[in-house]
């Protein structure tokens, strides 16, 4: 490894940021988005930046490279890297540091790798361009790092294109790429947010390994305290561009000083109060032996059966590709199954959407993951909610207007304020509330919630979960809750269904499924959810290495 790094003592100051202020442009006006941040970072030290969207985490992370995204600018303060203030340096000087002595790991490796080039060429590109390594040296280092990060076939995987490897592998390949020049500082910008929990572990382990081995300083940006607790030495809590609290990881988690930090810590504690009684009449939804595929390919769903009772919430969990969303598409009729049947209150539903009547459509509604794209940006709230009222229930005029206002009150938005707004004038949480109101307008008996909280900040997500629960208590509507987030499952569900590669591996009452003994996949899934304990990752990895807990699942041969 490079002698440059080893000759440097641990504890030497790498980054010193003072009074950093930045502005961002929105609607043609400049607003301050970072309001005077101080940050010191020493060699071998990892600082976690944490906060909700809009807190300025990524902006600050990029600023430490002397970089501002288009539409952002640094207005004041100093950013000293290795004793030199980047603010006083030329663009060429900063360009030379980037990718060489400071590197960046982006949130979505799938989007941040160039689809047109092989992984190994992208690995070595910065090093070769900066004159640090020759191409053959870079290729050799790449293979070493791929091996170190436990990528499969480390000698050949680099010759693949980004779309030819899985998401978790790609994210590890990006961590490897960031190490190509053995930098002094790495910015990790939400490197695990887009990954499944089981994959997140691999990447977290890789990050931790790299940072300790090479004694690199790092900034780790995330909105998830439990994740940052595993890798960071100290944590900075940010909100609206201000620093709320800075402290050692352990002491902050044990004794947060500020209310906001306490709120962030508390978000995973919400739990549904009472368990709804299973009544013995016909289930609202009964799915029997469903098998489905896209085109003539492999079956995406294989012999899936489940039931949902009135007033109950059934959580469907599993990793991406497990068939959760496909099951929702089958139930809604978007994808007619090749085998099996769907009964709604004892009555067989036609498999295809087109052959269902208006009443069958009305009783089954959906809420989507991305409220941004689920709402027509050219329709006012009034039209969004009014449409199902006139379409399903034939409401018009004053009656419809009154009902829209009633629904807005129900989802805790002031009708006078919101009824004439466009989706662009709403926050993410408010948009999701409008989507909920739209679903409720049809007076459905079952609502399918497809990852409805995963695009939202944690505090906002929690409010949405509470709202959904309140609505269920009042209206006795049933939910099918598709999610990959175990915390959400624990919070809201009565029963749960665990899916793996198109099959149900385990289902039943939540408490039963969550208590051992379990199917080994359920165990893997549950054990992979980060806990608010700084030692959790190390303990888990040690246990997995010793074979005390499940560490992998044999996959289906045809998957």
């Amino acid at each position: 490894m490079s002698t440059k790094n080893n000759s440097r003592e641990k504890g030497e100051l790498v980054l010193r940021m003072r009074g950093l202020r930045m502005e961002g442009q929105a609607d043609g006006e400049w607003h301050e988005i970072v309001k005077g941040i101080d940050l010191d970072l020493h060699r071998g030290e990892v600082v976690g930046l944490i906060g909700e969207s809009g807190a300025g985490k990524s902006t600050i992370g990029l600023a430490s490279m002397g970089f501002a995204r288009p539409g952002c600018k640094i207005t004041a303060g100093s950013i000293e890297f290795d004793g030199t203030d980047l603010m006083q340096q030329s663009e060429d000087y900063k360009r030379n540091l980037r990718g060489g002595r400071i590197s960046y790991v982006a949130q979505s490796a799938a989007a941040s790798f160039n689809p047109a080039h092989k992984l190994i060429d992208q690995f070595g590109e910065a090093a070769v361009q900066h004159g640090v390594l020759t191409k053959s040296e870079a290729d050799r280092d790449a293979k070493d790092l791929y091996r170190r990060l436990e990528l499969p076939n480390p000698d050949t995987i680099g010759y693949r294109y980004p779309h030819q490897v899985s998401g978790g592998q790609l994210q590890r390949a990006m961590v490897a790429m960031a190490m190509a020049c053995k930098p002094d500082l790495i910015i990790f910008d939400e490197p695990t947010t887009a990954l499944d929990v089981t994959t997140q572990i691999e990447v977290l382990a890789a990050v931790k390994d790299i940072v300790t081995t090479f004694n690199t300083a790092a900034i780790y940006i995330t909105h998830d305290l439990a994740v940052v607790a595993q890798v960071a030495d100290k944590i900075m809590v940010l909100r609206h561009g201000n620093m709320i609290e800075l402290g050692e990881t352990r002491s902050m988690i044990a004794k947060p000083k500020e209310d906001y930090t306490r709120e962030l810590l508390a978000v995973r504690t919400y739990k549904k109060e009472e368990f709804a009684e299973a009544n013995d009449d016909v289930p609202i939804l009964k799915v029997s032996n469903i098998t489905a595929s896209y085109g003539k390919g492999v079956n995406v769903l294989d012999n899936v059966s489940m039931e949902i009772h009135r007033g109950h919430t059934v959580a469907v969990v599993g990793e991406s590709g497990s068939g959760k969303s496909t099951l929702a598409r089958v139930i809604t009729g978007l994808l007619p199954p090749s085998q099996g049947s769907i009964e709604f209150e004892g009555e067989i539903l036609p498999p295809a959407l087109k052959s269902r009547n208006k009443d069958q459509l009305r009783r089954l509604q959906m809420i989507y993951q991305m409220p941004d794209t689920a709402l027509n940006p050219r329709q006012r709230v009034r039209d969004v909610i009014g449409r199902p009222l006139s379409f399903y229930l034939g409401m018009q005029g004053q009656e419809k207007e009154n009902r829209i206002r009633e629904l807005l009150t129900l989802i805790e938005l002031d009708p006078d304020h919101f009824i004439d707004r466009f989706p662009g004038e709403l926050s993410g949480g408010q948009k999701q509330r409008i989507c909920i109101a739209r679903a409720l307008a049809a007076e459905p008996e079952l609502i399918i919630c497809d990852e409805v909280t995963s695009a939202l900040d944690q505090l906002v997500a929690e409010e949405i979960l509470k709202l959904l629960q309140r609505l269920q208590n009042e209206l006795h509507v049933s939910y099918m809750f598709i999610t990959h987030d175990i915390a959400t499952v624990k919070a809201i569900s009565d029963e749960m269904v665990v899916m793996l590669q198109g099959e149900i591996v385990e289902q039943g009452e939540k408490d039963v499924v969550l208590t051992p003994p379990q199917h080994e996949y359920t165990e893997l899934l549950l054990s992979s959810v980060p806990e608010m304990d700084p030692d959790w990752l190390d303990d888990l990895l040690a246990k997995r290495a010793a074979g005390e807990v499940v560490s992998t699942i044999a996959s289906k041969p045809n998957a």
């Binding site: 960046y104 982006a106 989007a111 779309h163």
Partner: protein, 327 residues
Amino acid sequence: MNAILTMIAQRLALGLLTLFVVSLIIFFSVSLMPGDYAEAILGQAALPDTVKAFREQLGLDQPAYVRYFQWLGGVLTGDLGTSFSSERAVTELIGARFGNTMFLAAYAAVIAMPLALVLGVLAALYRNSFYDRTVNVVTLTTISSPEFFLAYVLIMFLSVGLWNGSEMIMGGLFPPIANVSNDVGFWERVYRTTLPAITMTLVIVAHMMRMTRASVIDLLASPYIEMANLKGLSKSRIVFKHALPNALAPIINVIAVNMAYLIVGVVLIEVVFVYPGLGGLLVDSVSKRDMPVVQGSCLVFAAVYIMLNLTADVLSIVSNPRLLHPR
């Protein structure tokens, strides 16, 4: 790779089918044209019997579908029939003209394509700058002007010259008439066709340049370009190595459409420069009701159009690594 070969074979088959449908449309729409060759040649004073005899001689007395199949049979064996007016083989007439058309189109493409790409990439890099606005205004002006007008302006400045009251200034750089024949050498041919080539460039460059600009701007906002920036790569490397390869698909399609225009849409330019291209031949033949030549030219145009679009489809698929290197 096999998937791509299969795809090319499918597209080729589809292209042939299209060409067959086009041949039907050409033949029967040509039959719908008012008047026929016999009447056009013999004039209004001709006796009905004379006209009838003449039509029999040309085979025009047979029903349309019979004539269609005769024609189609000929096409399949490479025989496009005989011109009514010159009594020469249509393939021979079209052949010489087609070569000229392709030469001029290729010449214009060689100027226009790199020019549009470079202008477009620069406009994307320095968007909303003075340069960007200037390029946009100039190219939009040239695309909005009638092509014959552009041609005459070029002739005035580069060929004839301007009268400043006492003498002619400018001009004399290129000949105003692009008369080429078989005995003209390659460079002389290039020299003589420069003005029409520039005119055509002015007409097509705006479209290609704006598409390049839009695609590159779109790509410059993508996360992997930000990543390239954060790797400290130089601007030219980011554009040529990271942005352009991914911007090719839409650009290729626009280029194909414009290439097709260069071949099939330049009748006016040929007329202005008295250039013996295929467009001019088509116009002449229509006015003379010389059906075999009209049909033959239309079929060649259609085939060129289909081939260009096919090439564009294949190239844009080949430029997509997801399709070129499947999982």
